[in-house]
Symmetry: T
């Protein structure tokens, strides 16, 4: 595992501003910085991408083929509805780990079901920014 | 309340052409004109945005922070499926009023449920272009 | 449109006393006064009726034939269960607009479904007493 | 069988005026007249009662004990929701026959289920005013 | 109305022997005799057919075109599952009346729903052999 | 706790006559007498009200404000459907205890769910007339 | 118990050819031979019947009255849908034992529910041809 | 691919007469003629079979083994309920293509689900008689 | 019919690489080439568009008005969730044929339901690249 | 009634410590003391048992046969899932009264359904420690 | 097959005493004696274990590895809920046959579904003590 | 965080032997060893407990109060059904992290829902033994 992508879905660009009781007060950039430090300390090249568009996220996943070895994906609310995203994960054949900052299983009913879990390697939910850091470690542990 | 946005979702650019029995024969531009007159008569600055893209609508909502005081949102069919849009409305912390030209509760079963209602201030449905005008009045009445 | 009826269902006589966090602190009489002023300012004759009885509400709707031109109906909790009320609305052939002071779509699950919406002209929900005022305007806009 | 009651529920007083495509153009009084002729021709005393109130219908059923030998009941839309009516039918211990002018099984989904059928002797639906006449004959055939 | 068919479905040939508490003790032949007398007294030609085979019942319905003016159908348990029978009733364009000896709405859950009701003229259930006789009268009343 | 109301819903006036296997042979008046003795022995003023009308029960609950300290409510079959009754209980802000003579959880499926439980203090079901007496004791124990 | 019938439903005539991984490689005739030997060794007269027609199976069950003492029934896929077959089993009043070669509870969801179980004496599933042999023994054990 | 069977289920013998708005005005024989011309032009031997009986259709499928190379199946309403037909298709191991003249997905809810699709090679629906012709071409394209 | 559009949704650009067991080994470009040859041989002008974005597909559909006579649409996983796409198909008033390379009815449960079928002319599923070719022929057959 | 058992299920040993907002601050031992005083004052011998194990509770119920005359059972969360407990209550043939300190009908959805109610004499819920005391009185009232 | 275990779940120790109409009057020990005779007559060593504890049953299953060749399991009401038991059966890799004395498919709805069937070899239900004896024979027939 | 407990539920003692394709070939003891090394390297005292008994797991959780600072819980199949376990986690007020070796969201439907997630801090699933190690790190990150 050499190159990894941290892929964030809708509204995660508003981190820090959005429902701080749920998501904490760190901004999206601060969180990226924390993840980068953690990943680079383990010798990884790390790239970041965020989009509010379902198609944009799928496009970015497609581009991973041949250039990225593993993906940490927080798909935001597309987690619960996007079968297209699920198909994209299946199609690219790379290890993808699903992460969530909040404990989605403890929130509204509609957040309990992830339609992408079945094609991800595993799920980590509920630990704030640590969910991403644990996700990086989990990617490494796959080797 | 000073600046408001009239935000329209998928297929509303085809108004006038699309199922006139349901949506009337006024074009999207004509409807915008009517809304603008109504809003400006009450001293409001009004802006318009329409997109067929879920991500585009979310992006525009994000941009409202700091520049818009209230939003009239006709999310078209994303009304019934877009939890990402719902999260965006929650995240920006501005008053959003959900409007529909048709009476969605009297149409197909899948149109009866709105996944964004719970985070909007209120819902106005069934009055054609008047739904938008009533929405503007409702925004003002929030003050 | 000349004569309109403001028809209120169960427990709305307790307005001001009942769950003020949800319904505000204005009494039923104060709210009627506000509606009357708004309607009369637009040249309408306005009548009011409130009943806790499903049959009473239906009887009153029947009496509208020939004497009333439009109805603003807040059916309270009968909204969610009364198919008899629905049949009455269909039977009288007059325009009926469904209003709710609270945003019923943001409350308990059982309040999300209205069994009368399909036979009303439209729905306005979530704006407190303004829901009635907007309803009056919506009735006029039907002409 | 000597004395029978023809008991009609909500909105049936509007017969002739209400959705004539479904219910025909005879008024409630004309229909009562036809039923009376049919019943009296077979030597029955026949009484009529109509109410839009669930409680009113239940009260009338209670009064049947000791004075009425059988009931023809068109419960209107209470057919689909009133467990209280169901309990009343059970409680009085008299034969009750459920009739409907329209074929309720061919209309909206919510009209397909009757919560009172299980405690009635039988159901006749779909024959307009003839449903009542057949109901009278069915009562007689119970003997 | 001149020629009618009394069409019986599965297991009705066992009448008299099958669950007498539910269906009475008259045999299938005795019941046919009673129906014949009743129909002929009103100047009708009446034919009878019974089959345990879904296809057999459909074949017989097809043969009605051009020779039969109305059908009394007790489809037995095919009532609850046979969309093919439903299509056959639609296809022949003749008035069909659905009858049941028992009150199907008061028995097991699976007997509460009829998939053929929506294409029949009406339903009569719960009056034993009288259900057929009332069905004949209902056919005549359609004229 | 000084003044209490024993409030009974539909069909409870027929106690003693109605399904004695389920409800026993004591009449409504005899049961009221037993409750009165029990309540008065504990120094309470007790009032009784019974109605078959949903609106009547709601009206009576409204009248409790200012004159009654606690309510024992057997809502009969309205227990399972009346959200209007539920709203009334919430609105008056008095302690209401839900009682049932029969064990509703051991009867038909539709009796298993109470829509008013969530706004009552507690539920007592299955002890015949003792359910009321235990309800009185429970009201006192709330203090 | 003297005379028994081994009654097989749709597609069981293809045994040996049909999905051998599920049903084994013995042909229908070979399986009948094994059953015959097993039954005759215990002094039973055994008859066999197979049909792909729902009506044909019902007809054969009807003929059992008076000539057969017990039935081993593998209804194939009619097991999951045929309420007509269920009624036939009830009607004839003979002991019927439901057998399946495969473990229907371990296959597709639609095979988990048998609509005939409730009127059979018992069910044996999952033992290949031994299911029939155990069924014969179970019939004998009923005595 | 040499020999193919065009297999039609219930009520398709009434084509031309049955709901012409849905199925067109060509008779069953005319449609067979069109299919025969199309198939023979491509060097195929084509046979036809229609039955209203579920068992009859299954029997005919069984006979295909060894004599037919592919089947075009319009199972009519058995499409939605016949697991026995599904098992027959699985059992014979031949390519079967499911066709429908109408767009079943745009009609009543019960027509949206096909229980045989999962064991057919593919589905073609909505093109009238062309559905059969496209089905023949699709069979050839399988080679 | 002169000008047609072959419109492909999410992940179909990965054809050949994505799950070859399901979708075959031909690349998206190779498949377009095959379709172009087939369409041009019949005198059609054919255009191609693929997008992973729901909004992008809707935009392209809107552009068809006035320039395209028919559309072959493989909406990928948006097939199962996009009511916005459904509205777009309704709005443009052009014939759209839904195609799928795989037999969606034989795959995961969530792929069994298409929310766009009801507004398409027909559906062709399960024939690999031939699904597109048959779709072109079906478009021509509409004339 | 001489000897009674107070039987408590999982987590009730933590009373006082566990969610005091729901269950109060009295410890399990303090509550047992209050119950003992109340029961002994009425001449009863009272025994107590608490277990977190489903099997342990069932074992204790079995031991009641011959030594205990009635049981007050608070089954904790096993209330909602344990059909084994339900069978045990049926098997021992002793009167069992179901009690809950909290109003289970006003809490999470999964607590609304009790699988043991149908085999208990009655249910008392919502009165804190008084639920037990009322349960003792209810047991005595059974005599 | 040399050594087998007869494993019984909750409440089966009460056999003879528990609902004799359903389970017969033989005691648990008498039934074990009958099974032992039957098994030993076929050269098997047979062991017995009964527990009311889910964990106890799982522990005993684990101990079978290396010492038992096959298991007859009557899991009582854990049949319907215990996924832990299901996992234990999968984990030990031994043939397990599910037996029930009563016909669980003819009893309460909750007894119709077995969550362990899918990992057992087969199911035998409805033959009283003979279910166990047939289970022993079925185990031997697996060889 | 000083003292942590690794708590394992049913069948996890069989690790290495149980479905190695799903759970790997390391034994329970080997896995405990790996966890211990990982935890101790971070200065934690770690204790282990495994039980197949729901009550046993609950008992052990109760004992954590006052002696343990955090819990890593793999509840096995009790994850999906044990509301008692859920209550225990709530009651003790300690941070509990839910871990699963397999990706439960990619397995059988019944494993997709966890009834304990809502009261745990977070969930980690799908990483084999690493799920435990990441769980330990997640506990530390809570500080």
């Amino acid at each position: 595992m050499k190159n990894i992508l941290i892929l964030n879905g809708p509204n995660l660009n508003l981190l820090g501003m959005r429902e701080p009781g749920v998501y904490g007060t760190d901004s999206y950039d601060q969180i990226c910085e924390l993840i980068a430090q953690h990943a680079e300390a383990q010798g990884l090249n790390v790239d970041f991408y965020q989009s509010n568009s379902e198609g944009g996220i799928i496009d970015r996943l497609h581009q991973c083929v041949g250039s990225v070895d593993g993906v940490i994906l927080n798909a935001g609310a597309y987690t619960h509805t996007s079968y297209s995203l699920r198909d994209a994960i299946s199609a690219i054949g790379l290890p993808v780990i699903e992460v969530h900052m909040s404990n989605i299983h403890a929130r509204e009913e509609f957040r309990h079901k992830s339609v992408i879990s079945a094609v991800c390697r595993g799920q980590i939910a509920g630990f704030g920014v640590s969910s991403y850091l644990l996700g990086v470690d989990a990617l490494l542990a796959l080797e």
